[in-house]
């Protein structure tokens, strides 16, 4: 095997460098022995190339492999099912929220109606108060032992409000204190209940509402629920509410 013969295979495999390729080309033109060798090797190469393509996979096998490596579909049945469940769950939650919101709205309305009823009943009563006193230091101790909580009453000097008296009443079986105030001939009722038994559906902060054309302020403070209701102006109701809030 001479210098050229050793390179014939590499030449046919196309792996010689460009300059080596040129040199060998030139040699082959002048060397019949090498030219014949290259020809026979090339023929073998081609024969092996075609003979080597011998086996073909069957289409079933091909399909089986293709499926086994196929990218997972975006929405598998499991995912669809999960998606549907999530949608149903969301709908149920939304319905539940809407229903409980509606329920709360109804409860709020009911509580305010009952407060208004109690106020009207007081106005209509021949004996609106059980303790008649303009002195908060008389009224407050009177409730002692009659209701399961205590509260503070504001100093009313120069406020325009006067304390008329108080009594015990019930709302939804929960005992509470009712205080009657007056401002320019208008009677105002202040109801105080334990927060856990009354008005849980109402917000903690001060809220102004109108019920049967009465102005109502209600808020929650130190575990107690306060309602101020009357036919006085909303400003008067608000002022009394503020005095009570500051007194606690």
């Amino acid at each position: 095997m001479d210098h050229w013969t050793a390179k014939l295979e590499t030449y046919l495999d196309g792996e010689l460098s460009a300059s080596e390729m040129r040199d060998l080309d030139a040699h082959l033109r002048g060397c019949p022995s090498c030219a014949a060798d290259v020809l026979s090797r090339l023929q073998t190469k081609r024969a092996v190339h075609s003979a080597g393509k011998r086996y073909r996979p069957n289409s079933e096998f091909r399909e089986r492999i293709r499926k086994s490596i196929a990218a997972r579909p975006e929405r598998s049945p499991m995912r669809l099912w999960l998606g549907a469940s999530a949608a149903v769950a969301l709908l149920l939650i939304a319905t539940f929220i809407a229903m409980s919101a509606r329920q709360q709205q109804l409860q709020r309305q009911q509580t305010l109606s009952e407060i208004a009823d109690l106020h009207v009943a007081t106005l209509a009563s021949a004996n609106p108060v059980d303790v008649i006193s303009t002195d908060r230091h008389t009224v407050k101790p009177w409730f002692q032992g009659k209701i399961p909580f205590t509260f503070s009453l504001p100093e009313l000097q120069d406020s325009g409000f006067t304390l008329v008296g108080g009594r015990v009443m019930y709302l939804g079986q929960a005992p509470g204190a009712e205080l009657i105030y007056q401002v320019r001939k208008h009677q105002i009722s202040v109801f105080i209940f334990q927060g856990r038994s009354v008005g849980r559906e109402l917000g903690k902060s001060l809220q102004s509402q109108k019920e049967l054309s009465f102005n109502i302020e209600n808020w929650s403070q130190d575990g107690l629920r306060y309602f101020v209701i009357g036919d006085a102006s909303s400003d008067d109701i608000r002022n009394l509410a503020d005095l009570l809030r500051k007194a606690q």
């Binding site: 095997m1 295979e9 590499t10 495999d13 196309g14 792996e15 060798d37 026979s40 090797r41 023929q43 073998t44 190469k45 024969a47 092996v48 190339h49 075609s50 003979a51 080597g52 393509k53 011998r54 086996y55 073909r56 996979p57 096998f61 091909r62 089986r64 492999i65 293709r66 086994s68 490596i69 196929a70 990218a71 997972r72």
Partner: protein
């Protein structure tokens, strides 16, 4: 077949791997010499490749990577272990055949014996068979073959040369018999 630095996804894998299916299968059956075993080999190769696809380095040769997996799977299979244990490679240099006027190649052309050639390739030790097939059938470059077989370029060239010589010898024996 070089893969750019794109995101490697299952979809990408399918796009890259399925066009190689027929040739991988052909190579597998040449190695295993049995249809069922070849199918198992290809199936295992695709499963392994998909699993390991995230570790495939984009920018490197995907075809060589696939063939490497197939070949390693074969070598660790029962048949593969049996055949690789029986041959020793890259060790002895057998003397050159004297090239007479009647070379195996010229006789081959005359007889055009496709089957004879296939039988001769089949009879080669698996290490010669694979390097020959990768070069002649898959038309891989020496570099690709080196990557596939995890051997240096120089070894590719010497092994290929020996494989061709062994093929010529085998053909000659068969032609003498025939």
């Amino acid at each position: 077949m070089e893969v750019a630095g794109e995101r490697l996804t299952a979809a990408t894998f399918e796009e890259l791997a399925m066009p190689l299916f027929d040739q991988l299968y052909n190579f597998a059956q040449w190695l295993a010499q049995d249809r069922t075993e070849a199918e198992d080999l290809v199936q295992e190769t695709y499963a392994k490749a998909l699993k390991g696809f995230s570790s495939f380095q984009p920018g490197t040769n995907f075809r060589a990577w696939m063939y490497r997996i197939l070949r390693n799977t074969f070598l660790t299979s029962r048949t593969g272990l049996k055949v690789s244990a029986t041959v020793e490679l890259d060790s002895d240099e057998s003397p050159e055949l004297s090239a007479g006027p009647e070379t195996p190649e010229t006789i081959l052309i005359e007889h055009s014996q496709h089957q004879l050639l296939q039988a001769a390739v089949e009879s080669l030790p698996v290490q010669f068979r694979e390097v020959l097939l990768l070069c002649e059938v898959e038309e891989m470059s020496y570099q690709e073959i080196a990557e596939t077989l995890s051997i240096p370029m120089g070894t590719v060239m010497s092994r290929l040369s020996r494989a061709r010589k062994a093929l010529r010898e085998s053909l000659q024996r068969r032609l003498v018999k025939a």
